[in-house]
Assembly symmetry: D2
Amino acid sequence: MLSTRRSLTVEFGHCDPSGIVFNPNYFQWLDFSVHALLAAAGLTLKGLVTERGMDGIPLVDMKAKFFAPSRWGDVLDLEVGFAKLHRSAFEIEHKVWNAGTLAMEAIETRVWTVFDHEAKRIKAKAIPDDIVALFTGEAKGD
Amino acid sequence: MLSTRRSLTVEFGHCDPSGIVFNPNYFQWLDFSVHALLAAAGLTLKGLVTERGMDGIPLVDMKAKFFAPSRWGDVLDLEVGFAKLHRSAFEIEHKVWNAGTLAMEAIETRVWTVFDHEAKRIKAKAIPDDIVALFTGEAKGD
Amino acid sequence: MLSTRRSLTVEFGHCDPSGIVFNPNYFQWLDFSVHALLAAAGLTLKGLVTERGMDGIPLVDMKAKFFAPSRWGDVLDLEVGFAKLHRSAFEIEHKVWNAGTLAMEAIETRVWTVFDHEAKRIKAKAIPDDIVALFTGEAKGD
Amino acid sequence: MLSTRRSLTVEFGHCDPSGIVFNPNYFQWLDFSVHALLAAAGLTLKGLVTERGMDGIPLVDMKAKFFAPSRWGDVLDLEVGFAKLHRSAFEIEHKVWNAGTLAMEAIETRVWTVFDHEAKRIKAKAIPDDIVALFTGEAKGD
């Protein structure tokens, strides 16, 4: 399965009056990681929408565990990878490391959607085979 | 068990280029709800730290499900309540309603901690009985 | 000139390790205020775009002065009003009060833009007369 | 005068429904730049507070001009440097470049403060000479 990693420095403004990262910031970073993972597959959300008729990959489930606080100045190492691919949904796994310690981990599920012009609403659709091949890492993105 | 609710208008700036709420904003609102729940118990995090020797209630687990997107201008109704009390941890349940539809729900677990001056680190401690009574709603806060 | 006001409670998560509001949050609140001011004129950015061919009101200038810090739990009173209307630009004035003390004030300038299909880029355009009448308060919005 | 620069990729979640950076995010990045500038001087806010008796460098004035929108995926180049040093205040200048175009620029003023234990409030104080030397670049930080 395709995965990637990048690092990030915790800024003063990411922290709350306790001096540790305000927890919603982790979820912002996880979202950035999802886009980094698409980029590692040679894809962008914008390209999928404009060129592939995809309507979005809405988050439907997020399970996160927090093991250790991160503080201002800490350099975090963010690992992200596809974990499971279903017919029209996929799971992404995140691990956030802080100086060798696992600070938090999460599994999120997103759905591949298209816009149903008859029903006038979005609906789940099977992830196209070539996209599956990019997600598994069998095919290489540009 | 004690619970409370409040409402919130989704702002333009809460939404992403898809036109729907950028998902980390929900986690920010859930954190605000936790403080609203403490307030409903007549408590503040600051007061617990300065008057009760508590060191914080770090988030250790978050499980969220998203059912429907929220859009700019939507008025959300945020329900929050204590769900389960353990010896030194407690679960808080959130439901976010959008015009009668459940937009998302979450269960988070937080731990009651004190600072262990010998070990020089925080540790979990039993939630004091009078605080338990406020969380269950058996006692009334100021 | 049209003006409006609303209040807001400073949350734990709005504050930084110094215990005071992390300054970028003020700019987020000012942006929310701009939308509240449009609403007071019976307008929405979305409606102006879809019904009036407007392309946006990009911020081009922001001047802010900070007089006193705001802290977690403080209830802020946000005043916002049109200050000056130019041909294709307008100034909005903000005052943020904290328990009767002026915490910060700002003047921002935004431009009324339309999309120039020939040049394929946005350009400033004169604010329509009926919109000017709503901004000055001479006409009433719905 | 001391200056530094760093780059940053605009994320999907930094943008609003117009598809451009939600303007308060710029102010967040400017704050991160201030800390990067202190780091370039071999200083941290935390160190100044704990080792030098400084109480903070509150922002008192921010003047920003926005010239061009930034979009999701754009790589921004953030320049930051000391502009003017006064007795107890200092000005920091920011320029944000987007692919060679100046996207925005800002001048902010911050005050060097200490806590006045008699008056029980913070007050402005002259910036220490060795700190001035680091800010001007005459001395080198660690």
